[in-house]
Amino acid sequence: MSASTEELKDQHEGRQGLSAKDRLRASLTPPPKPGPSASGQPAARRRLIGGAAAAVGVVVLALLPLLNIQLPGILPTATYQPGALQLMALCMLMGAAALTYHLLIGVAGLLSFGHALYVGAGAYVLGILLERTGMGLVPAMLVTLLVVVILANITGAVALRVSGIPFAMVTLAFAQAGSVLVRRNPEGATGGEEGLSLNTEQIPAFLVGVSNTRNLYWLALAVLIIVFAVVSWIQNSRAGHLAEAVRENENRVRVLGLKPYLAKLLIFVVGGTLAGCVGMVHLLLQSGAVPRTVSADFTITLLVMVVLGGVGSRWGAVVGGVLYTLLDQRLTVLAQSEAIQSMPALFRVPLSEPLFLLGTLFVLVVLFMPGGLAGFVRRLSARTGGGRPRKDPVKVLEQAE
């Protein structure tokens, strides 16, 4: 409970004399690791095994477009064909989006209902720039990034003046304003309810067309890896530790003379910016942006993903995002199937609504599997005796208030 606050106190005392620039640099470097202890050896080995497993996983994912693997029921086509690649790329993007939301709720304990605003801003601003200005893809992406950073700074600075449920409501209201703006279709820029279709004139040829889906797949994989790396880096930096300490006990952090506000703002802006990056690639992958990416529903979807995976766990967020997207897609296909369409209405109606099944699954997970998948794994490893001590997702969740 107080480990991270103690650590912060030590750090803080050593940093009194630093200039603002040095302080910023110091806040983004990881704190010194405690010296080797009795438990240090197995922990290091486990980290090595974990790293190796992740590397193998990345290589396998990167090779999938070149292999011919059939997974009937899970993927629509063989892994090298566009149908499956599109779905897998979408899953990875949603995993990355869930990861950016994890940064808010799992690290800083910020329950935001407006995270979709930044995903939508990334998609729409890039789409509009490509449509209206004739900029190249890379300059347009950089401008979009700048816009999202500014947007996240302004909205975050205002919203973080309050905390708890009022914070959730202010973020919800900002996102709602964005959603209304997009649906209003000012000067035909956003395409209103129809959405905005991607103007492919300025996009390099290798990212356009069904036959190039595998390039988009690799792009999505790269986004997932980059987002994971940045989130890990921020979480392990001093600022991340400060944010975690704020989540655990904000008053104590304040008593130590540290500023919770700046740490929370940093996390909020980084989360928003990464979400904007995910939004940009989402635009390229889906060849357009739809108003749903800005809606409160989308933020709630991200929340559901993170909770399914287990709050506070990075891989949990990714798995939650992937699982949710996969289920959503496959249940939609299943709903059209002969087996379900021939059932009596009593079964057919609920079974042909993917969101009904997903909502029910979510309720059941919250009721009977507290902590989601990560909580389940934690209990499992606690029962077998092995495993490192993990954070309890149930506790992390309660601290979010």
Binding site: G164, I165, F356, G359, F362, V363, L367, E398, E401
Partner: protein, 293 residues
């Protein structure tokens, strides 16, 4: 002048709908600390079943309309009581998870309604008189607004009487103020939980039927957009404050109508109002003090 009067009454009518949704949200949050996302589902089901009832009874008869109000109210109350009993109670004192359960229920319920009733809005009608207008000082005011405002006024009066004059009302007020103290006095505050959920659901069901007459249609998506504004109203008024919810509902409704008519930016004005209120008075217009960052 007549335009201003018309906008004012339409705004108050919209505020009345907001109040019916927001009052329950505010009481539930005040007593239990749960932001109830399933409120939109209570409202939507009330509206849908209310319309089905009215259609069977004859949509243009007063009996059909009155029965649709009653049925909408009962359906909302029943669903809310069931929600509290089955989903909220097992997660006692785990507030965030209670919120998550209501989020999941809302997802599932709205999807189910879409499966049953379809996503397209169904245009509805009430008794002929409600579709007509009355001339008040030159303004042609739609008659259904009078009924909406009257019902919301009655609900407000009923809730105030209940909270001030009955023993259960007293327990609820005390619970909003200091729940652990009420528990320490040996009162089973959980029965009050079911009660506020039922009352909130009943008001939301009524609000659903009236909202469908206000907007002229029913659809499974009716609750979603109303819920967001009801949240905003609840926060502006101060979480847990019934009077705050009433004042904020009318304020937001009227402001939205005027801003929409003159500059068509009603939704933005509401968002700005929320930001301004929260930044100057983080606990809302009439809420108790809360900690700020």
């Amino acid at each position: 002048m007549s335009t201003i009067l018309l906008l004012l009454v339409t705004g108050i009518g919209l505020g009345a709908v907001y109040f019916l949704v927001a009052s329950g949200l505010s009481l539930i949050y005040g007593l239990m600390g749960v932001l109830n996302f399933a409120h939109g589902a209570f409202l939507t089901l009330g509206a849908l079943i209310g319309w089905e009832t009215a259609r069977i009874m004859g949509a243009d008869s007063w009996g059909g309309f009155a029965l649709s109000l009653l049925v909408g109210c009962l359906v909302g109350a029943l669903l809310a009581a069931l929600t509290e009993f089955v989903l909220i109670r097992p997660l006692y004192e785990r507030h965030i998870e209670q919120v998550l359960v209501t989020v999941g229920l809302n997802l599932a319920a709205i999807a189910l309604f879409e499966g049953i009733w379809g996503t397209d809005p169904v245009f509805i009608q009430g008794p002929t008189w409600m579709g007509m207008t009355t001339d008040v000082l030159g303004a042609q005011i739609p008659n259904h607004l009078f009924i909406t405002i009257l019902v919301a006024g009655l609900v407000l009066a009923g809730m105030v009487l209940f909270l001030k004059r009955t023993r259960y009302g007293m327990i609820i007020r005390a619970g909003v103020e200091n729940r652990s103290m009420v528990t320490a006095l040996g009162i089973d505050v959980r029965r009050a939980f079911t009660l506020v959920f039922t009352i909130g659901g009943a008001a939301a069901g009524l609000g659903g039927v009236l909202a469908s007459h206000y907007f002229g249609y029913v659809s499974p998506l009716l609750g979603g957009s109303l819920l967001i504004f009801a949240f905003i109203v609840t926060v502006i008024g101060g979480l847990g404050s019934l009077a705050g919810a009433a004042v904020a509902s009318v304020l937001v409704g009227v402001l939205q109508q005027f801003a929409n008519y003159y500059w068509s930016i009603g939704d933005f004005v509401v968002v700005i109002l929320l930001a301004v209120v929260l930044l100057t008075r983080p606990s809302g217009l009439m809420g108790r003090k809360v900690a700020t960052a």
